[in-house]
């Protein structure tokens, strides 16, 4: 029977457990609200993972992990467009730029990160394709799922807590009027500074996440830290982007009639 369904009925944790226990080989395709992930397994172990809309090439993974400089990355993009990841890996190893372990470790980390992101997806459809092995031109790994499941469950708990703390990404951020700490003396990480640099009354948290290339979990984590430190607070948008209620607040547009209505309410409540 085809393994397919809805993430509401079957969680990522359950899916990975099943794949591990059944030693499955194939590709799990998860269609989330805005992204599609393809995660390949061989004999119940993680082999490859990719978010459809994101670059998962070896060159990009190594560049993101700071194993390749931007000059090297651009050079590969320009000159080595026709070679596969496997060929590129061999070239890098033979050229003495990187070891095999470097390449595999970074790929494992990248695939693990993608898989862990899936734990925050609660909406979407999935299907498991038995006949779809990892892409042949890409380097696959063999990563046990146990630790991924444990780590993913931790992420999920953190995600749930962060969602409680920051329920909407459609809010803006502003610096607190009287922060307990002087911003100049605060030690912020590079990622935190990037977020801070985008804090403006008309930027939503989601827009900041987009500008800083962070996913929902990453931006919530950083914003939560800034909120807890008392450096920023959430605020509504100030430039009129705030969703305007479609239902009218007052039956009349006339200001005097509106005031009269409020006064009638006051009189009535007093008389209760």
């Amino acid at each position: 029977m085809a393994l397919r369904g809805n993430l509401r009925d079957f969680t990522i944790t359950q899916l990975l457990n099943l794949i591990k226990l059944a030693n499955k080989t194939g590709t799990l395709v998860v269609e989330g609200p805005s992204e599609t992930a393809r995660v390949a397994f061989r004999d119940g172990k993680l082999a490859y993972a990719q978010i459809a809309q994101e670059d998962s090439s070896l060159a990009f993974v190594l560049f993101k992990a700071k194993k390749l400089s931007s000059v090297q990355y651009k050079s590969i993009q320009q000159r080595a467009t026709h070679i596969s990841d496997k060929e590129l890996g061999l070239l890098l190893i033979n050229g003495g730029y990187l070891s095999q372990e470097d390449i595999l470790t970074n790929l494992q980390q990248h695939f693990a990160n993608i898989t862990q992101r899936l734990f925050t997806w609660v909406e979407g459809f999935f299907h498991f394709d038995n006949d779809s092995p990892p892409p042949e031109d890409r380097i696959s790994v063999r990563l046990d799922l146990e630790n991924l499941i444990i780590e993913g469950s931790r992420h999920m708990r953190e995600w749930e807590q962060l969602q409680d703390e920051i329920p909407s990404l459609e809010m803006a951020l502003k610096f607190t009027d009287h922060p307990g700490t002087n911003m100049r003396n605060v030690n912020l990480s590079v990622e935190e500074w990037r977020v801070v640099s985008y804090i403006k009354p008309n930027n939503t948290i989601r827009q900041i996440a987009s500008a800083t290339n962070m996913n929902d979990l990453e931006i919530r984590r950083i914003v939560y830290g800034l909120l807890e430190a008392g450096l920023v607070e959430t605020s509504r948008l100030s430039d009129g982007i705030t969703p305007v209620p479609s239902m009218r607040i007052f039956p009349s547009k006339d200001k005097e009639e509106q005031k009269s209505l409020i006064n009638r309410l006051i009189t009535r409540i007093r008389s209760l």
């Binding site: 809010m171 607040i249 007052f250």
Partner: protein, 180 residues
């Protein structure tokens, strides 16, 4: 017939249903169901799963509706719908349960983001000996001194009336200042 509405929100078991019940002229339309979470079940047996709905007739032409938001966070998809077109909102906080203060703050921010209308915060259950002081609650809830944080006993009609009046005064004040 003209209708206007206010929303009563706040964490689970803050006293929203009782608040509306105290002033509504109709038996409130409440959709309470048994609680699924064990931790919440230890606090009370049922909670509002859709919304409470109370009514105060002002005169022949005007009716005020009071909407209570669902008590459990998994129904928060209702919030945006409920916030549409509200005159203002009341955030109920259980003064005896500090573990809910953070959530109350979060609900307040979410509602204010949905609709930048005036609001007041009602520190409910102030008649109970475990109730936190208003000044301590203001501090923990990160409420600016301009935001009204008012002592409340949701079972007492006069107390509920006072909260509603404070919200109406805030609405009137904003209108007179030309910010609305």
């Amino acid at each position: 017939m003209q209708t206007v509405k206010m929303v009563v929100t706040g964490p689970f078991n803050a006293g929203k249903t009782q608040f509306i019940r105290s002033v509504s002229e109709i038996d409130i339309v409440s959709t309470e169901r048994n609680i699924s979470s064990a931790s919440e079940k230890s606090v009370k047996e049922s909670t509002t799963v859709a919304m409470d709905f109370g009514r105060i007739t002002v005169d022949e032409e005007l009716v005020l509706y009071l909407f209570g938001t669902p008590g459990q966070r998994r129904f928060d998809f209702m919030w945006e719908i409920l916030s549409e077109g509200m005159l203002g909102f009341i955030v109920m906080v259980d003064s005896t349960r500090p573990e809910t203060f953070r959530e109350a703050r979060s609900i307040l921010e979410t509602f204010h983001a949905y609709a930048p209308t005036p609001y007041v915060v009602a520190a409910n259950k102030q008649d109970m000996k475990e109730a936190w002081d208003i000044s301590d609650m203001r501090h923990v809830l990160h409420l600016d001194s301009k935001i009204k944080l008012i002592s409340c006993i949701a079972t007492d009609r006069d107390s509920v009336k006072a909260i509603l009046l404070e919200l109406l005064y805030s609405i009137l004040s904003e209108m007179e200042n030309g910010t609305k």
